[in-house]
């Protein structure tokens, strides 16, 4: 009797089987807005890539392919780019897409109140030639401009103006913060900020749909253990990310699969190079050894990256040799070896630089920004101790970390960098160029690394149309940065997603989850 009762109870409690094409997924962060021009953050842009589209888009291998523009060509000798727009594209509300929407979206996305305006810094003027043609002029020749606007999403002019959302409003929100009207494969059918967002396929989509989803729902789940449980119990079909320490265990479970890849983010160590003295540790106040390239090189040799990857990353990451990963455009094949782990070599370099007896300094590290960041810093600390230099590790939440870095409160620090343009020029501009607020250069170069040749190469790289010549300059930059050990690139961060085993999808290195590549079996 008792057994029959509990069986009946179990049957009653178990959810009714859902249609196979219902797809539910969970991530740690809810996109904070549905406005594609309000903020420039990966959770927002990644999510909205399913809803809005740009003139170009990125394919499964990150390559640029036509989207709302069918083709594009340089104007004259590099004065700008001309885009030919796709015919017969409609927004979710049924209105037609044309050049006016592109012009409007340019004005909206480049306006003073938009966080995406830095994408349009090279743009001098946007001209509407006719309803299907748009010309974007740049102040200097800009070979990678089409690559740099893959996340610039086009919004319907009439819809935005009717709903008084002609400009984004991040601070107070407006109609476009909660509602969408794009041209993408999916439209948002319900939106409860922080709780759930529901999507349905856009029937009038211009491209052929390869997915078989009829309804999709995104729920943010902050707690990693809860997300894993939700995946195991089948309440969600996919979670991103899977905690690295759970990946191996999940792999062996029935009903779920782990999808692993390499993210675009390179994790590296940076140094206070413009500081005259050390700020932390027993040697605070003494001259700063990290101004000497030999000391920086010694650090690179002392860090056993393979050991870090094996123990902390559980074999999920790959070593990095330069500021970008091999998947990025402009990666330097010629400089793809990182300094070998060599304790004696490191000691010899330190002795040569006059630090045979070592020294003590401060290492700053975030503890909730990158995968296992604090553990990596602890490992680095003990590896450096073996060559005689003592790091005083100070790990903190990322909310406190950036202000510390901005205030130059470090001798050495940990940084991860994912190039927004997926091009090797990006980290040179932000991390290697001499900081210059006016020219908006080196804004993340906290250590103040400075090299005249790099500063001279950067504008040339930015305006070189010829691919071969451009790559030669990128190679030269990579070589300089390696020789001077401007940073110590350690590894490319892994990407670990978990899905039910009846789901097939594509994982892209930018960690964007693209719904139109999902199939439910």
């Amino acid at each position: 009797m008792k057994r029959a009762l509990s069986a009946a109870l179990a049957a009653a409690i178990c959810a009714a089987p859902v249609a196979a094409e219902d797809f539910k997924w969970a991530g740690t962060t809810d996109p904070q807005t549905m406005d594609p021009h309000a903020v420039n953050s990966a959770p927002v842009l990644g999510f909205l890539n399913n809803v809005y589209e740009g003139l170009v888009r990125r394919g499964k291998d990150m390559s640029i392919e036509p989207a709302l523009a069918t083709s594009w060509e340089p104007i004259g000798a590099g004065e700008g780019w001309r885009f030919y727009l796709r015919d017969g594209v409609t927004f979710h509300d049924g209105s037609t897409f044309d050049a006016e929407d592109v012009l409007f979206s340019y004005q909206r996305a480049s306006s003073e109140v938009s966080d995406t305006r830095s994408w349009f810094a090279p743009v001098s003027e946007v001209k509407m030639v006719d309803a299907q043609t748009i010309e974007i002029y740049t102040t200097a020749p800009n070979p990678i401009f089409p690559d740099s606007i893959a996340n610039w999403m086009i919004m319907d002019k009439g819809w935005a103006e009717t709903n008084s959302a002609a400009r984004p409003d991040k601070e107070n929100g407006n109609y476009a913060t909660l509602n969408t009207n794009g041209t993408g494969a999916f439209m948002v059918t319900a939106r409860e900020p922080g709780l759930r967002t529901e999507l349905a396929p856009h029937d009038g989509w211009w491209d052929e749909a390869t997915h078989n989803i009829t309804k999709a729902e995104f729920t943010p789940i902050q707690n990693a253990a809860t997300a894993v449980a939700a995946l195991l119990s089948g309440e969600v079909d996919m979670i991103n990310p899977v905690p690295i320490q759970d990946a191996a265990r999940l792999q062996g479970q029935d009903g779920v699969q782990i999808i692993q890849g390499i993210e675009a983010r390179v994790i590296m160590l940076g140094f206070a190079q413009d500081a005259e003295t050390l700020k932390y540790g027993a040697d605070a106040g003494k001259p700063n050894p990290f101004q000497d390239a030999r000391v920086r090189k010694a650090v690179a040799k002392a860090v056993n990256v393979d050991a870090i990857l094996k123990t902390i990353m559980r074999g999920n990451a790959e070593p990095a040799s330069q500021l970008v990963s091999p998947a990025m455009r402009g990666y330097s094949e010629a400089h793809s070896t990182r300094p070998a782990f060599d304790v004696d070599g490191a000691k010899a370099l330190l002795a040569e630089a006059g630090y045979a007896d070592g020294f003590a300094f401060g290492l700053k590290c975030p503890n909730n920004r990158y995968l296992n960041d604090e553990a990596v810093c602890q490992a680095v600390t003990s590896m450096l101790a073996k060559v005689g230099i003592t790091a005083q590790l100070d790990a903190m939440p990322v909310q406190n970390y950036w202000p510390e870095l901005r205030a130059d409160n470090f001798d050495m620090y940990l940084l991860g960098w994912s190039p927004g343009t997926f091009d090797a020029e990006h980290p040179i501009r932000f991390l290697a160029a001499t900081p210059n607020a006016e020219k908006k250069l080196g804004s993340w170069n906290f250590g103040g690394y400075s090299n005249a040749r790099i500063d001279a190469l950067l504008p040339m790289i930015q305006s070189e149309i010829d691919d071969g010549k451009r790559q030669a300059m990128l190679d030269e930059s990579a070589q300089i940065l390696q020789e001077e050990t401007a940073y110590v690139p350690m590894y490319v961060q892994p990407l670990v997603w978990g899905t039910r085993d009846n789901i097939s999808l594509t994982q892209r290195p930018d960690n964007f989850f693209i719904l139109r590549w999902v199939n439910v079996q």
Binding site: N172, T219, Q222, A229, N400, W402, S443
Partner: protein, 326 residues
């Protein structure tokens, strides 16, 4: 009487003001909201501009004053993260937390009293001893662990109950309830147990010791001697007399159930104000943090004030307004 009430209310207001001041002085240690608001390609000029725009360049007493100025007019500012009025967000999230608190409070009281009486009557029984031992788990295991444990047993292994969320809700004006749908009822079971377990154990142990005390009293023995049924003696005469301290403790615990819902809500992704607060800390969403902390302190202060006023009503010695007191 009136002087006493006024005095207590003024004291409460002062406590609230101080709590707010302490909270505002702490916010800069939580971190800097700027980096979450601006993307990778921000410049130093953007950072400076936004800091001025949000009033973060002002010293914290000024920020606090501005917050108070808005708060007394019912305006808690706009969430940095969501770009919506904080008052609106709190109203949206409050029903989830209040329902969870109510259900777990109900479970804690009913099960706690029942088990308390049982373990007192069967003082030396095997089952009673077992319950007492097991109840130690309720006080010694952290909420987080209990929640995860329940999820793995009932959601992952047995698949009976959902592991996260609130299920479907029904909207009544601004109030949303999950108690009227099957999925909502299923969803509340695990979080309510997790949240109420500590209180349940507390009430059970309190009832048990009070019962043991009362059962030794003469009037219980006389009642038994009169030949009254055991049930009547235990529940009508004994239990009634144990309830006074239980009610006091339960009242005071109500506040902490709501306040400590933070952890339970995080484990079960329960869309209440606690989860909102955790999120706000992560993104240094100062307006949300400020409003939440103020609301929670208002609640605690109000409960204490009510308790004080009740004592005043009950205890005649407090009522003399100082005249003739020795």
């Amino acid at each position: 009487m009136l002087t006493y009430v006024i005095k207590r209310v003024l004291q409460s207001a002062l406590v609230l003001l101080i709590v707010g001041l302490v909270a505002f002085s702490m916010f800069r240690f939580v971190g800097d909201p700027i980096d979450n608001l601006l993307g990778q390609e921000r410049t130093d000029a953007d950072i400076a501009r936004l800091r001025v725009e949000l009033g973060l360049d002002q010293p914290f007493p000024v920020q606090y004053y501005k917050f108070l100025e808005g708060a007394v007019q019912g305006d808690f500012g706009v969430s940095y993260r969501q770009g919506r009025p904080v008052g609106e967000i709190l109203l949206e999230r409050a029903p989830a937390t209040l329902e969870l608190a109510a259900v777990s409070g109900f479970l804690a009281i009913s099960i706690g009293i029942g088990l308390g009486v049982f373990t007192a009557i069967r003082k030396d029984g095997f089952l009673a001893n077992a319950i007492m031992s097991i109840s130690l788990i309720g006080v010694s295991l952290p909420t987080f662990l209990i929640g995860i444990l329940l999820i793995y047993v009932f959601a992952v292994e047995l698949g009976w109950l959902p592991s996260f969320g609130r299920g479907d809700v029904v909207q009544f004006g601004w109030w949303s309830t999950g108690l009227l749908t099957a999925s909502g009822l299923k969803a509340i079971v695990l979080p309510a147990i997790t949240l109420g377990l500590y209180q349940m154990t507390l009430i059970m142990r309190l009832v048990r010791s009070e019962m043991l005390e009362v059962l030794r009293q003469d009037y219980v023995r006389f009642a038994r001697a009169r030949g009254l049924k055991a049930r009547t003696v235990n529940f009508r005469h004994a239990l009634k007399n144990t309830l006074v301290p239980v009610i006091t403790v339960t009242g005071l615990q109500l506040g902490s159930i709501i306040a400590f819902a933070i952890i339970t809500e995080t484990v079960f992704q329960w869309p209440g104000v606690g989860l909102l607060f955790i999120n706000a800390i992560q993104f240094v969403d100062i307006p949300v943090m400020a409003a939440y902390l103020m609301l929670i302190s208002v609640m605690f202060v109000a409960i204490n004030l009510i308790v004080d006023l009740l004592y005043f009503a009950i205890d005649p010695r407090l009522r003399t307004d100082g005249k003739g007191a020795h």
